[in-house]
C-alpha cells in the first residue's frame, strides 16, 4: 500500500510540505490535507485590505492545483484529536484518517486584550481571511480606526488603513511601539515619523473597556482621555493552536518540541511553523519563531523527510521587515540580546538608525531603519542576513564596521561570505520553481 502522509494545516508550512513531498516522491504516495480554511497567504492580506490586490490573489493553492498535486483535501475541517498509538487522526465531522506519518502545522490564532467589550460588535481581529473581509467591509474614508497593539501585525496593516483614507490611532500598552521588533531608540524615530504622517500614537495605554455608543466604540483607559472609534482592530498577540493535542502524547512546551529533522517525540509525527519549537540558528536553543520564513523552511524540511530524504535543519533565523509610510523597519537574529556586544548609529536627519550585534567577530543580529527610497540606509538588509546566517568571522572588518555601520557591502564581499553561501541549500539540492513540481 502507498505511504499515506497526513498534513494538518493548509498554511505556509503545510503547503510547502505538500509541494516538497511531491517534488521528491512524484505521485507515489498518498497525501491528505486537512485545513480549516481554503489555503491562502496570510502575508498578503494587508494588500487585500488596502485594495492593491484582489481577494483572488491571496490564495496559494486552488482546488485544481491540489488535484494536480494529487492531494485529498479536507477543506473546512478541523482536526479534533490525535491517537499517536494507533496512528489515527479524528476530524470535527467524525472522519477518522489513518496515517503513516503526520505533520502538525495548525498555526496560531489571534488573542484579544482581556477587557470588557473586546468581543463586542465593531471590534475585529486581523488574522484570517474571513476576519480581513470583515475589516475591509467596515473601514470608511474619514472614519476613525483604532489599532490596539503596536506589534508587527499591526504595522503590516498600517499602510492599508491609510490608503483607505481612514484616520488612524495606534495604542500600545508597552512604553514603546514594536517592542518585540526594535529597541527604544528605533521606536522613538518610528514614532516621530508616524506622527509626521498624521498617525496618532499612544504608548503605555492601558485599555480598560470598550463600550458601544451610537454605533461607534468608546475606548476607556486607566489614564488619559477616552477615544471614539468607528472600527477597532485588535492586534494584541497570538497563541499556538495546540489544544486539540491534549492527551495525544505529543510533547508540547512553548510549542511542539522538535528535533533537527522536525520530528516531535513521536517519531512519525512532525511539527512545523508557528506550532513548532525548533532550533534557533543563532542561539542554538529551541524557540518558537512564528514568522513566514520559518514556516516555509520547516514545511520544506518536513516534506523532504516525509518523502524519505534525510534532511537535517540548521535552525531558523528570526527576521521581520515592514514598511510604514515609506519607512523601512527590519530586525533579524539576536537583535535584542542584552549579552551581545552592540554598536549603534542614529541619523535622525535621514530617519536612519542601525544597530549591529556581535559575538566575537561574528555578527549575530541587526536592526535597521531607513527611508525606502534612500538606498544608502536599507539596501544592505539581505547582506546583514547573510552575515548572520553564515556566522562568518569578519576579523579586522569588525572594527571597521563598528566605526562605519553603513559599510556592510565591502565587509561582506571581502570576507568571502558569498563563497560560504553558495554551497548552502535547505534540502541539499537546488530549489524547484513554484508550480514546476509535477
Amino acid at each position: 500500500m502507498a505511504t499515506r502522509h497526513v498534513i494538518v494545516g493548509g498554511g505556509t508550512a503545510g503547503l510547502n510540505a505538500v509541494q516538497t513531498i511531491r517534488e521528491h516522491e512524484r505521485g507515489e504516495s498518498e497525501i491528505v490535507l486537512v485545513s480549516a480554511e481554503r489555503p491562502y497567504s496570510r502575508m498578503v492580506l494587508p494588500y487585500y485590505l488596502g485594495r492593491s490586490i484582489a481577494e483572488s490573489h491571496v490564495f496559494t493553492a486552488t482546488p485544481a492545483r491540489l488535484a494536480q498535486l494529487q492531494v485529498q483535501a479536507h477543506i473546512g475541517r478541523r482536526a479534533t484529536s490525535l491517537d499517536t498509538a494507533a496512528n489515527r487522526l479524528t476530524l470535527d465531522d467524525g472522519t477518522v484518517i489513518e496515517y503513516d506519518d503526520l505533520l502538525i502545522a495548525t498555526g496560531s490564532s489571534p488573542v484579544r486584550a482581556p477587557v470588557p467589550g473586546a468581543d463586542g460588535p465593531g471590534v475585529h481581529s486581523f488574522w484570517t481571511l474571513e476576519q480581513a473581509r470583515g475589516v475591509v467591509a467596515q473601514i470608511r474614508e474619514g472614519g476613525h480606526v483604532v489599532l490596539v497593539g503596536a506589534g508587527f501585525i499591526a504595522f503590516t496593516i498600517l499602510n492599508a488603513i491609510r490608503a483607505l483614507r481612514a484616520r488612524l490611532t495606534i495604542l500600545e500598552i508597552a512604553p514603546q511601539i514594536l517592542p518585540r521588533m526594535i529597541d527604544g531608540t528605533g521606536a522613538g524615530i518610528v514614532e516621530g515619523w508616524l506622527r509626521r504622517h498624521e498617525v496618532a500614537i499612544r504608548t503605555g495605554a492601558a485599555l480598560t473597556t470598550i463600550e458601544e455608543e451610537h454605533g461607534r466604540r468608546r475606548l476607556r483607559f486607566r489614564e488619559g482621555e477616552d477615544l471614539l472609534a468607528d472600527v477597532v482592530i485588535m492586534a494584541t498577540g497570538i497563541r499556538t493552536n495546540l489544544e486539540w493535542l491534549n492527551g495525544s502524547g505529543v510533547h508540547v512546551r512553548r510549542g511542539i518540541l522538535v528535533d533537527d529533522h522536525l520530528r516531535s517525540n513521536v517519531p512519525n509525527v512532525y511539527a512545523a511553523g508557528d506550532v513548532a519549537e525548533g532550533r534557533d540558528l543563532v542561539t542554538g536553543e529551541t524557540a518558537v519563531h512564528a514568522i513566514e520564513p520559518t514556516a516555509m523552511e520547516h514545511g520544506r524540511v518536513v516534506g523532504a523527510n516525509m518523502a524519505g530524504r534525510n534532511v537535517g535543519y540548521r535552525g531558523s533565523l528570526l527576521m521581520n521587515i515592514v514598511e510604514v509610510c515609506h519607512l523601512d523597519i527590519a530586525s533579524l537574529g539576536a537583535w535584542d540580546d542584552p549579552t551581545a556586544e552592540a554598536f549603534a548609529l542614529a541619523r535622525p536627519d535621514r530617519w536612519a538608525y542601525r544597530k549591529l550585534l556581535w559575538r566575537g567577530d561574528r555578527l549575530v543580529g541587526a536592526m535597521i531603519l531607513g527611508m525606502a527610497n534612500d538606498i544608502w540606509t536599507t539596501n544592505d538588509v539581505g547582506m546583514l542576513k547573510g552575515l548572520v546566517q553564515t556566522g562568518n568571522g569578519l576579523g579586522a572588518w569588525k572594527g571597521h564596521l563598528c566605526r562605519n555601520l553603513f559599510g556592510i557591502k565591502q565587509a561582506f564581499i571581502a570576507s568571502g561570505t558569498t563563497a560560504r553561501l553558495l554551497p548552502e541549500t535547505l534540502l541539499g539540492q537546488p530549489s524547484v520553481a513554484p508550480g514546476q513540481v509535477l
Binding site: 490586490i53 490573489h57 514598511e323 539581505g382 556592510i408 565591502q410 564581499i413 530549489s431 520553481a433
Partner: protein, 162 residues
C-alpha cells in the same frame, strides 16, 4: 547554464554597467535602480561589480509567499511583476543582498540576466563582466580581501591613535 562571471581586476569603476543595467531594467539611466552595483575598495582606487549569482537555493524565490519569483528559461530567478505584492520578504531573505524593492513600482526587482543578453556585460568596456557557461562562484573575495587589508590596518591604526 550561462551566468555573469566577474573579473574584478579588469574593472575601472566607470559605472557603465550600472547605467546600462538600470536603463534596460527600468527605461531610465538611474544607477540607484541598477541590480549590478560597483563597490569601491581601498578608498576608491579599486572597484568590483557585484550582482545576483542565481544561487542554487534561490532564497528569494522560496521566501516569496505568493510564488511571484520563478526560474526563467535562461535559468535566472525572476520576479513576476503581476504577482509581486511588494512585501519585501525576499529582500531580507536573500543572504547575498541582491534583490531590492522599487518604491516607484512597489515591486521587488533583481537581476534577470536580461533574458539571456545581459546589458552590463555588453556595456563593460574592459570585459570585466562576461556572460559565459560557468558554475556560480565568489568572483570577488580574493580581489576584495587583498585590496582591503592595508586600508583596514590604516583605519584601525587611526582609530587607536584617536
Amino acid at each position: 547554464m550561462k551566468l555573469l562571471r566577474i573579473i574584478p581586476e579588469r574593472c575601472t569603476g566607470c559605472m557603465r554597467c550600472e547605467l546600462a543595467c538600470s536603463y534596460v531594467q527600468t527605461g531610465a539611466f538611474q544607477p540607484a535602480r541598477s541590480v549590478i552595483r560597483v563597490s569601491p575598495f581601498e578608498t576608491h582606487t579599486s572597484f568590483a561589480p557585484y550582482t545576483c549569482t542565481q544561487c542554487a537555493e534561490g532564497w528569494c524565490m522560496t521566501a516569496c509567499p505568493v510564488d511571484a519569483i520563478t526560474i526563467s528559461p535562461v535559468g535566472a530567478k525572476v520576479v513576476l511583476d503581476d504577482q509581486c505584492v511588494g512585501c519585501k520578504l525576499c529582500t531580507i531573505a536573500c543572504p547575498y543582498g541582491t534583490i531590492f524593492y522599487n518604491p516607484q513600482t512597489q515591486k521587488a526587482f533583481k537581476c534577470n540576466l536580461c533574458d539571456g543578453d545581459p546589458a552590463c556585460a555588453k556595456a563593460c568596456p574592459t570585459f570585466a563582466i562576461e556572460y559565459v557557461e560557468a558554475e556560480p562562484a565568489d568572483w570577488l573575495e580574493a580581489f576584495a580581501a587583498g585590496r582591503s587589508s592595508r586600508h583596514l590596518e590604516a583605519a584601525s591604526a587611526g582609530a587607536e591613535a584617536r
